[in-house]
Structure formats: structure tokens, C-alpha cells
């Protein structure tokens, strides 16, 4: 029994290095999804509740953004953060923060779009009912979030799923630097290019297991109090 396990262990990167890759993946995608939720949920609620000139254009932008190719996002963020770019002075290129920024750009339209759909899916008169019970604008938003929480957890899961598994953008702006910006997806690409398919497969399985575990957590929260 121990022999196969030992041979499997031999396939993996050093334990410290592997842990670093996993933690960095979780950190980058975790921070990105938190920022996306903080920006995307209020924006989605606002777009869902208010009518104003230019709203249709914004909704079209959001819908387009939901299918934005990650490599295009990577290219855009790269050009912004490159030394000759407008934010080159920040010296963020090839750091985890550049990867966070790219993932925020990818996840935010998804969060906005799903939140918008969730708010529009609620009964139109619900916000009037909430206001009529004496809610302030902030209390209204909080209540709507609570009422639409099943869909918002879906937004969270969709956003997180899209960025934890994304490779193009983080490769371009992170550079896949060992010990600094190497995350699970970029490590898989590297191992595959080097012909180390076994390593790539093991990393892939770990990534899938992580995604499964996190989505199981989201689903548990989502289904906890269906009423």
C-alpha cells in the first residue's frame, strides 16, 4: 500500500513548494472575488433597481464583460502596468497584485450580471414593500441582498470558479515566477510544456478537488435555509 503512495508523492513538487502554489492560488482568487463582490453586488443592485440614461449601454457592457476572453484581459492589464504604461510607476507587473487585478476584471462583470439578474428576478414591488416598512436606502440594499442570497451565492461560485481555473491572464501579468507568482493553473501549463504530464495531472486533480470543496461549501451555504 505504501509503495504506490510513495511513487505518487514523488510525482508532486516539493511539499513546501506545492503548499505555496496552492496558497497563492487561493490568496489571489480569494482577494479577487472579495473585491469583485464588494464592487459587483452594489453595482448589480443599482443597475437592477434604477432606470437612467445610459443604463442599457452599461448592461450591454456587463453582458459583454461576462464573456471577456481572459487573455484579452491579461493583455489590457499588462499594457496598463507595463513600465511604459499609465500605471507602470506602481511596479506591480509580475506580482500577485497584478494577478489579483486581472482576476477582478474577469470576475466583476460576472458578479454584476448575476446580481442584476437576481435583483430583476425579485418581485418588482418588493423594494417598495421594504421601503414602505421604513427602510433607509442602505437597509433596502441589505434586505434585497438577503432576499436574493441564493442567486448571489451562485454569483460568488461562478466568479470564483472562473478565476481559480483561469490561466491566460495570470500567466501574462504574473509571469509564472517560481515562488512568487506561480499558481496552480500556470504550474500545470509549465509541467505540461516540460513533458511532465504526471505532475500536470496531479496538480489538475488537486485543483479540481479544491474547486469541488469550495463549491461544496458555497452550495451548503446556499441551500442551508431555503425558504
Amino acid at each position: 500500500m505504501t509503495a504506490p503512495l510513495a511513487s505518487l508523492g514523488a510525482l508532486l513538487p516539493a511539499p513546501g513548494e506545492l503548499a505555496g502554489i496552492i496558497l497563492l492560488s487561493l490568496f489571489v482568487s480569494g482577494v479577487a472575488i472579495v473585491v469583485s463582490m464588494l464592487v459587483g453586488v452594489p453595482a448589480g443592485i443599482f443597475l437592477g433597481l434604477h432606470r437612467f440614461p445610459g443604463r442599457s449601454f452599461l448592461v450591454t457592457l456587463v453582458n459583454t464583460g461576462m464573456g471577456l476572453p481572459p487573455v484579452v484581459v491579461g493583455l489590457g492589464v499588462f499594457l496598463l502596468l507595463a513600465r511604459s504604461g499609465p500605471f507602470g510607476g506602481l511596479d506591480l507587473l509580475y506580482t500577485p497584485w497584478a494577478m489579483v487585478l486581472a482576476q477582478v476584471v474577469i470576475a466583476t462583470p460576472l458578479v454584476v450580471g448575476i446580481t442584476l439578474a437576481a435583483i430583476q428576478g425579485l418581485d418588482e414591488r418588493l423594494h417598495l414593500q421594504i421601503l414602505s416598512l421604513g427602510a433607509s436606502r442602505a437597509q433596502l440594499y441589505l434586505k434585497l441582498v438577503k432576499e436574493a442570497r441564493l442567486s448571489l451565492v451562485a454569483a460568488l461560485a461562478a466568479g470564483f470558479g472562473s478565476i481559480i481555473s483561469e490561466v491566460g491572464a495570470v500567466m501574462m501579468v504574473g509571469g509564472n515566477i517560481k515562488g512568487q507568482t506561480r499558481v496552480m493553473t500556470t504550474a500545470i501549463v509549465l509541467e505540461t510544456r516540460q513533458g511532465e504530464f504526471a505532475n500536470a495531472i496531479v496538480l489538475g486533480v488537486i485543483l479540481l478537488a479544491l474547486a469541488l470543496g469550495i463549491n461544496w461549501l458555497f452550495t451548503a451555504v446556499q441551500q442551508r435555509r431555503r425558504a
Binding site: R125, L128, L131, S132, L133, G134, K146, A227
Partner: protein
């Protein structure tokens, strides 16, 4: 005393006026029914009364003081509203009722006691821990009312709260609600398109049509003394006859309606063009007799044109020589049994001068409103 007063209020959507009110007072302690057909602007008016929608023009005053816009939260919190659909939140019945209290910082045991008391008042306290979205229609509406009443609002706005319920439950809830509102001295505005509901609950009735207030008055005033042809028609007066006052005395007007003459207790100057309104249930139908009518009594001979059976009552249309069409009468089942009405039957239709309400026509058809 006026709790909420609207003056010159106008609301527009896409450049089109959807509400235009010269004035409307909601008096403290009264139950005011807003009566009107679909599209009359009732829900828009409720949003203005709730201080949730700023009118494009005009003023709104709360206890005589002008309301600033946006309306302060503490002022809005003196008003609560319940809708046709209960619109309950996720969570338990009790949590729903607690929500408005929590917005006001009221939590803990005291808030729970208040909420439970409100549920008890509406006879749903035994459902406090049930998931609100598993309640039946009647239970859900009771919960929605408890959620509004627990806030002890100075003004309670109800937007057709029982329209989606079956008739027996609706009648029962209406009765209970009226009792609760009166017992707690809550001023209430009750929106409905059902005349029966309006008359069973209201101290006053305001009739709305196409965004305009046609009349506001006691149920008796609106029913028996409609201010316009449109109100008379909406109140199902039945007979609205165009004529001209030809003679007047101290207590009686004589009105020429085509070749016929009507007597009315509404005294107007000679030459006034009028709409003469006679409620169909005021018309007495009998077999023709020989006796001459008493002075001032309107009596016409004719033949039954159509008979429509309503169950407890029957509606007859009688060709009595009026150019505007047959005279309508609503008779009881007992009268129908004795009369045995059928098309072609000769009858005599009688109504008193007091039953004829005259509305001066002022050169403008309010049907165009």
C-alpha cells in the same frame, strides 16, 4: 384635522401626466377609500401619500407642515403600507413581522412581544415559527397586515389588500381589519376597485379616474349625489338622462328629457342643462294601475325590454319613451315573483323626485377626463 394634504399634485411618466389632483385631504382617524378602475392612478397616488414619490408639481403637507423632499426617514416611518400580494420575505412569519421593528432599532424580547401581539390580533400567532412562504393566501395576507400594523403607523396605506383572496375570506378579513383599524384609531387609506369593499369600510370615498379626483365625500354623497356623469356611471347609477330644467319652485325642479318630464328635488335655475341621475334600485316597477301619481312623483308607462337575473335581484330594462334608451330598474326576487317580468310585459315605473339627482352640465363632458 388633516393628517396629510395634497394640493395641485401632478405626477408624470415619460412626459405624460398620470396623476393630477387639485386637492385631497386625508383626515386624522378616518378610513378613506380610494375607489377607481384599473389605471386610475390609485397606486401612484399611494406612493405619493407614502412620501416615496415626489410629485412633479404641487405640495404635500403632513399635519399642516410642508413635506421636504426627499421625505425624512422619521416621517416616512410614521406611514406603513400593505399590498395586494403579501410580498412576504424569506424566513419565518415572526421574522417578517419583526423586520420593520428591527429597522427602527427595536429588537429583543420587547420587539418579539409586540410582533406576537400583532400576529395574535390577526389570528395567526400560532403560525409564528412557520416559514412565511408556506402560508396559505389568507394567512400570508394576515401576516402582511400584522407586519404593517405592528409599527403602529399614524397612516396605514392598503393597496387592494384582499383582491387576490376568495370572496368569503375577503369579507371576513375586511371586517376584522376595519375593527382593528378603528379600535386603534389608525388613519387608513384603502385602495380598491370594488365598490362593495369601499362602502363596507369607508368613512369617506374618493373616486379616481384617469389620474383625476372626480369626487370625495361620504359614501352616501358619492352614491346618491354624484358630482359628475363619470362618477354616476362608475357608481352604476343605471339611469343618466340628459335634459334641461324648464321650471323650478322652492323645492322642485321640472326637467324636460326629450318628450318626457321629470321632477327632481335638486333645485337648479331654469334653462340649466343637466344630467338627471336615477339609481336603478330606486325605480319601483308594478303592473299598470289606474291611480294618478301623487304630485312630484315620476311615473312612466312602458314595456319590459329585457330581463337579467342576478339571483337575489333582477335587472329590468323598460322602454318608457326616453330617447336615451330604456329605463333601468333593479327589483327584488319577491317583486319579480309577483310581477313575473318578461319581454313585452306592460309595466309602470315609478320613482320619487328625491331619487332624481341633477348634475349641471358645464359644457364639458367629464367622460373625456
Amino acid at each position: 384635522m388633516s393628517l396629510l394634504a395634497l394640493a395641485g399634485v401632478e405626477v408624470a411618466r415619460d412626459g405624460k401626466a398620470i396623476l393630477s389632483l387639485e386637492g385631497l385631504d386625508v383626515r386624522a382617524g378616518e378610513l378613506l377609500a380610494l375607489l377607481g378602475p384599473t389605471g386610475a392612478g390609485k397606486s401612484t397616488l399611494l406612493r405619493v401619500l407614502h412620501l416615496l414619490e415626489r410629485p412633479a408639481a404641487g405640495s404635500v403637507a403632513w399635519r399642516g407642515a410642508p413635506v421636504p423632499w426627499p421625505a425624512p426617514l422619521d416621517l416616512r416611518r410614521r406611514i406603513a403600507m400593505a399590498f395586494q400580494d403579501p410580498l412576504l420575505f424569506s424566513g419565518s412569519t415572526l421574522e417578517n413581522v419583526l423586520y420593520g421593528l428591527s429597522l427602527r432599532g427595536e429588537t429583543g424580547v420587547a420587539a418579539r412581544e409586540k410582533a406576537t401581539e400583532a400576529l395574535r390580533l390577526l389570528h395567526v400567532d400560532h403560525l409564528a415559527e412557520r416559514r412565511a412562504r408556506t402560508l396559505s393566501g389568507g394567512e400570508a395576507q394576515r401576516t402582511a397586515l400584522a407586519r404593517a400594523l405592528v409599527l403602529r403607523p399614524e397612516l396605514l396605506l392598503l393597496d387592494e389588500p384582499f383582491a387576490a383572496l376568495d370572496a368569503p375570506i375577503r369579507r371576513h378579513l375586511l371586517e376584522e381589519l376595519t375593527q382593528v383599524v378603528k379600535a386603534h384609531g389608525i388613519t387608513c387609506v384603502y385602495v380598491t376597485h370594488e365598490q362593495g369593499e369601499a362602502f363596507s369600510v369607508a368613512d369617506r370615498i374618493a373616486v379616481l379616474r384617469r389620474g383625476r379626483l372626480l369626487q370625495a365625500g361620504t359614501p352616501e354623497e358619492v352614491l346618491l349625489r354624484p358630482a359628475s356623469r363619470a362618477v354616476a356611471r362608475f357608481m352604476q347609477t343605471g339611469n343618466i338622462l340628459s335634459g334641461v330644467v324648464t321650471r323650478r319652485s322652492e323645492a322642485l325642479s321640472e326637467v324636460a328629457v326629450g318628450a318626457c318630464v321629470l321632477f327632481s328635488r335638486t333645485v337648479l335655475p331654469e334653462g340649466t342643462a343637466v344630467d338627471a341621475c336615477v339609481r336603478r334600485e330606486e325605480v319601483l316597477v308594478e303592473a299598470p294601475g289606474d291611480a294618478a301619481p301623487a304630485p312630484g312623483l315620476n311615473r312612466f308607462r312602458g314595456t319590459v325590454a329585457t330581463v337579467f337575473d342576478h339571483g337575489s335581484t333582477m335587472q329590468l330594462k323598460i322602454d318608457a319613451g326616453f330617447s336615451e334608451g330604456p329605463l333601468q330598474a333593479l327589483i327584488t326576487r319577491r317583486v319579480a315573483h309577483d310581477l313575473a317580468p318578461r319581454p313585452g310585459l306592460p309595466v309602470e315605473a315609478t320613482f320619487s323626485a328625491a331619487s332624481v339627482h341633477l348634475i349641471p352640465r358645464e359644457g364639458r363632458s367629464d367622460d373625456d377626463l
